[in-house]
């Protein structure tokens, strides 16, 4: 054993001050009204260690999906740096990009949109194998293997079916199989069960947990539902209007949220039994407007604890005990 043990391991994913700003209503589409800059992701910094599962939690418009798209290079960051295994994503091109595509995968929200309706399940699953140069003779075996991995019983029966012949739960497993077929290191799951009925949700979530453990995957789970994030991830990052509000162990966040926004969010999560608090939420009315965020702290206009400094200065994400919080109170 050497001293190096005490040094923290190199993160698999490292995001430094990532930004995704885009103009809405350019001169050409100006007929629709405003032309302004939306900061979908605005200065986000975090790291993910190999094998870690992180939940990206927030309301619609908080930038969690944009963050996921940045991580998969489906969108180019307009600022900051994202590294995967030490390589900057911004520089990836050609064969290097192709290698990255094999290592980082996405599981989609709506399974019915995530597969081409004109393709059979076989053709859908063959596409990544073709791109990775797997010889045709090996593909069928790999496809069957992947479908077994996501626990679709008797996978052969699905191969020649079209997407509309499958149920939502079955199709979401196919989408998962496609993501896993090249044995990636890193998976981003974007609200993978929000379109599914409650009774089949649990099945998909269980498969996800299982596969992740079995393949030692590093995973990001994007969701608006803290209860689901808690079921899948040991660590949670809470986002609001393009910024991180709080980042820490999920259990700590559930039981003792620090940031005023997280407090409201945790209190608002509905629970499926009658004995629960009906107290008013500690948050102002209104909704976040990504086109027109307040100055300083983006949450201050709904924050019950806001004071002068919040309007002047955006709080940095600072360590506070087991986690990091972006609030002037910590």
């Amino acid at each position: 054993m050497r001293l190096a043990v005490s040094k923290p391991p190199k993160p698999l994913v490292s995001v430094k001050d990532a930004q995704l700003h885009y103009r809405v209503g350019s001169a050409f589409s100006a007929m629709r009204g405003h032309s302004s800059v939306v900061k979908a992701v605005d200065g986000v910094t975090f790291e993910i260690q190999k094998g870690e599962s992180v939940g990206l939690l927030g309301e619609s418009g908080c930038g969690k999906t944009s963050m996921g798209r940045l991580l998969l290079k489906l969108e180019e960051a307009t600022g900051g740096e994202i590294e995967f295994a030490g390589d900057a994503l911004s520089g990836l091109k050609g064969p290097a990009l192709k290698r990255y595509r094999a290592k980082a995968q996405l599981i989609f929200q709506n399974p019915f949109e995530a597969v081409n309706p004109r393709f059979t399940i076989r053709a859908t699953l063959a596409e990544p194998l073709e791109n990775a140069g797997i010889p045709a003779a090996e593909r069928e075996g790999r496809i069957i293997e992947a479908l077994e991995l996501v626990r679709l019983p008797q996978p052969q029966q699905y191969l020649d079916r079209y997407p509309h012949q499958l149920s939502g739960g079955q199709l979401q497993r196919v989408v998962m199989a496609r993501a896993l077929i090249l044995q990636p290191d890193f998976v981003v799951a974007d609200e993978p069960v929000s379109m599914l009925d409650v009774s089949v949700r649990a099945g998909v979530l269980n498969v996800f947990r299982d596969v992740r453990d079995r393949l030692n995957l590093t995973a990001i789970y994007i969701s608006h539902d803290l209860a689901l994030v808690r079921y899948v991830c040991e660590r949670t990052i809470v986002m609001y209007l393009g910024r991180i509000m709080e980042d820490g162990p999920t259990e700590d966040i559930v039981h003792e949220p620090l940031h005023p926004y997280t407090k409201a969010l945790v209190a608002a999560v509905p629970v499926p039994h009658p004995d629960q608090s009906h107290d008013p939420l500690p948050i102002g009315r209104g909704a976040p407007d990504p086109r027109n965020p307040p100055s300083g702290c983006v949450f201050r206009d709904r924050c019950p604890l806001a004071f002068d400094r919040c309007a002047k200065e955006a709080p940095a994400l600072r360590p506070a005990g087991s986690r990091k919080v972006a609030c002037h109170l910590f």
Binding site: E59, S60, P153, S167, G169, D197, V198, S199, V200, R201, A202, G203, V204, L205, N206, H224, D225, L226, A227, L228, R230, Y231, E251, V254, A264, L265, V266, A267, A268, V269, P270, V271, P272, H273, P274, Q276, H278, P280, L281, I283, R285, G286, A287, D289
Partner: protein, 339 residues
Amino acid sequence: MTETLLSVRDLKVSYQVGKGSIDAVDGASFDVPRGSIVGLVGESGCGKTTVARALTRVIADNASITGGQILFDGQDIAALPEREMNALRWRDIAFIPQSAMNSLDPVYTVEYQLNEVLRRRGGLGRRQARARCEELFEMVGIEAGRLGDYPHQFSGGMRQRVAIALALALNPKLVIADEPVTALDVIVQRQILDQLRELQSMLGISVILVTHDISVVAYVCDRTVVMYAGRIAEAGPMDAVLMEPSHPYTMGLRNAFPDLKGAASGVLTPIEGAPPNLAFPPPGCRFAPRCPFAVETCTTQQPALGMVAPDHRVSCHRADEAAKLRQEAARTETWLADA
């Protein structure tokens, strides 16, 4: 003292699809007591929205009410001539839709749309209508200054408040809310539910809240009706149904639902399989193909909606074994496909 406002008896609604027909609702019976919120809960395609719309008798062109009664205040509105039914709409039965964005007319101001109801349906004069508009906006917590705004100028949560104001405009006896918070984020969702509950108890009206989310039911409802594949699975007081479910489907739903306040190590259990195709429903109990407790009778005979406790009805052949089944249902292994 629970007096019944609405009593649905053996309601059947069919859709004409091509040459055949599908019974989207096949014999639904439940009661709505005065001054209560009843949650109508079920998965997509279970017929809950069809029931809600059937109560207004404004249903899809290819749908029709093919049987049963809808007793509203003692009167069967399913059999009412269209003219009389139309007189009843909105004055007695109002509706809050899922997406207020699409259900408010984009080319008119919100005030115009409130006025339309107040003056054309409520017979109010110009000045009275204006006063009522302001009153309604105050009730749902929007400044009166925004009456002249167009629907697209409001945020999603605000639009839903407008929809609530619109529904309450004529002091109806019953408000049907079809997934009123589904499209909203949790925080706004909670605020809207609080608002709805507050106004409901203040005005003493009855509400039918259609939802797929049992935690919404748990938060605001007094009673619950659980639907599965066009039929009522279980109906009763909310806590009884959620805490001591007597239908295996309700038990399964409870297991599948994540609970933030529960233990961290809890495991979610899915119900294997998918709801039946209503064009070819199974002959017996519609849940039997997915039910771990199904016995032979379940696959051949339709269970009737029977009483398991005062005011608590279940349609299950093994309802009298409910306590035992509940214990078994709590174990994950029970629900595994090959168990």
